[in-house]
């Protein structure tokens, strides 16, 4: 199998997209590096406060006309965008691999997931309908009309540069709002490509803006009086201590999605042949940089024979994984995003061993990179046994290709461990018993629950849920909840004497 062609040639100068124009920034410029080979593929600005203000101003100016644009006409813009995204599907996917490092299967999956959100938002003429009651009192009628609010800020993370802003953006504009997207400055190219297609799709200037940068842009959004709300996906400390309270302080709506430390509960009656590939995807897919990734497996029961089969299965499969350039179609795991993230993951592995975990597959050294690439950002899968719920590798988010294994006697113990963890993003159970599955589903306090599914990624027409330290807010991104988030319920009571 050949290595697919890189879509980004040379070094791209990333600009901001404000009021329908590509504009340079006066801010400092930083490199965007392909984690596979360390090559600089783009230069991205850290935009200034004036630049974020200009984008908000453009959105504010565009809002009255866009709001008056009939939903069917707004939907047509989204239909055109969907067609353009499909036409550019492969290029968009390869850009993600090049800027992030994920495998081409993962990038294509991300592209599909992103497009699905645009597809759902195309249904806005019906999704946005209100409701009414005739004769709430004699001769008096009452209506609920969902109305857009103005300008929203969308702050994206590094791990899904294409898809995650699309959990919010299509719904925001479909409902008649205008948006300012701030992509992660580590991976700005996917949102730049989307904005090019937005431009081609004929969205009016100012409806969809992209401002690159870091803290200055985020602060500019949080403090701006004309931003009505923020959607954020990133770490829990930022979601909990920065985004959520500051949105509260400035009266903004907020969806703040944080980190996770997810559990995969393995029952002895599970089908191991189906479970092991699901676990490989869950723990090591996207090099573990996913808020839905499994971080620890809880193996239930005292059947030593099953436990041994499980351990042998996961270790053998993980050891055989092909690691390398995500554009090589044979590769099953790419690098982590950068050397700093690798260092952090390594420190968690060390912490695990210091606290008593035993490494049975050492991703620090026991792996081989396919192809001639520096190991700067590469890690192999690490599997650790004898993990205890109080260890840092359980209570904190690692965000890397590691699997901790906790052994317990009963499902009750497993559920207790899940519940005692501060995060509650996505937990799953693997079993062939419907009764056990129901018990787990009913009792587990997790936003996204999997039954024999390792990555519990809700479809675009379901909310992307999350609880406790994984989510701050009330409504979630995607689907009907996003429609509610991006609209205010205007209630009209009408009498004609």
């Amino acid at each position: 199998m050949a290595i697919l062609e890189e879509p980004i040639k040379g070094i791209v100068e990333v600009k901001n997209y404000i009021d329908g124009e590509w504009v340079g920034s006066k801010g400092e410029i930083q490199d965007v590096v392909n984690p596979v080979n360390g090559k600089v593929i783009a230069k991205v600005p850290s935009s200034t406060k004036e630049e974020i203000d200009a984008a908000v101003e453009a959105g504010k100016a565009a809002f009255p006309d866009w709001r008056r644009t009939p939903p069917v006409a707004r939907a047509r813009c989204l239909f055109r965008l969907k067609e353009l995204l499909e036409a550019n599907f492969e290029e968009l996917s390869r850009v993600q691999t090049q800027e992030h490092g994920k495998t081409i299967d993962e990038s294509r999956g991300e592209t599909r997931r992103g497009i699905e959100n645009v597809e759902v938002a195309c249904g806005i003429p019906t999704l946005m309908q209100g409701y009414n009651s005739e004769d709430i009192a004699s001769g008096i009628d009452e209506y609920l009309i969902p109305t857009p609010l103005g300008v929203f800020g969308i702050i994206g993370p590094f791990n899904f540069p294409f898809m995650i802003p699309l959990w919010s953006a299509p719904y925001a504009v479909a409902t008649g709002n205008c948006i300012v997207i701030k992509p992660s400055s580590e991976v700005p190219l996917s949102q730049m490509k989307i904005a090019e297609l937005v431009d081609e799709a004929g969205f009016p200037p100012g409806v969809w803006n992209v401002v690159n940068g870091g803290r200055t842009v985020v602060n500019g959004m949080l403090d701006h009086p004309d931003i009505e709300g923020i959607t954020f996906v990133g770490s829990t400390p930022t979601a909990k201590n920065v985004i959520y309270p500051r949105c509260g302080a400035t009266g903004k709506r907020v969806i703040a999605q944080g980190g996770a430390s997810n559990f995969m509960v393995i029952m002895p009656d599970c089908n191991l042949r189906a479970t092991i590939p699901a676990l490989m995807t869950s723990f090591f897919g996207n090099a573990g940089q996913r808020c839905l990734a499994g971080q620890n497996a809880i193996v239930v029961g005292d059947d030593d024979h099953f436990y041994k089969d499980f351990i042998n299965g996961v270790v053998d499969t993980a050891r055989r994984m092909i690691i390398g350039n995500g554009l090589d179609e044979e590769v099953q795991m790419g690098p982590v995003r950068d050397a700093e993230k690798k260092k952090k993951i390594l420190s968690y592995i060390s912490s695990g061993t210091k606290e008593g975990a035993r490494i049975i597959l050492d991703g620090r050294s026991d792996f081989r990179i396919k192809g001639d690439y520096p190991d700067t950002c590469f890690l192999g899968p690490t599997i650790m046994e004898y993990v205890k719920p109080e260890m840092k590798i359980v209570t904190e988010e690692i965000f890397g290709p590691t699997m901790g294994i906790i052994r317990v006697k009963t499902l009750d113990e497993a559920i207790r461990i899940c519940d005692d963890n501060p995060f509650h993003n996505a937990d799953a159970i693997f079993t062939s018993s419907g009764r056990t599955a129901r018990e787990f589903k009913y009792r587990i306090k997790s936003g996204n629950v999997g039954i024999n599914v390792g990555i519990v990624a809700p479809m675009a027409f379901f909310p992307f849920s999350g609880m406790r330290d994984s989510f701050f807010g009330i409504l979630h991104t995607q689907g009907k909840e996003a429609i509610r988030f991006f609209t205010e319920s205007k209630v009209v009571i009408e009498r004609w004497p």
Binding site: T103, R108, M280, T281
Partner: protein
Amino acid sequence: MRLNTSASVISFAKQLEADSAAFYEKMAERYPKAAELFLDFSKGNKKYTTMIERAYYGVITDAIEGCFAFGVETDKYTFEREPAKGPGYADVLNQAIDMEQKLISFYTDAAEQSEAFMADVPRTFLIVARKRKDRKDKLGTLLRET
């Protein structure tokens, strides 16, 4: 070579379809009396490629096991891209039947491996396998009539 990822298996399937299409185009040139049938086979291969691509690009998401769904040993399914030179019509038909059998095995095996993981992809593979079984039967009839 062993292929584990969906991307590599889909590319391999596309390559097999392209090679098999080229094979039938050569057959059509060499045996004009059955050219229409062979060209029809070649055209069918392009349709199968589209079906496979649509299934893959339609379902590939992070919720399915895209990088761990397969264990395809490619050596089992490769075949000569050109009809053998020299031997008679019957020998070349037998070569085509062998090729179709390899393709049926490939699609059946790949569907079985990915059944729990890849949603529409294994279903599409089985449809293509069934179509190829029909084609193999047609080639068998042609061989008996020779």
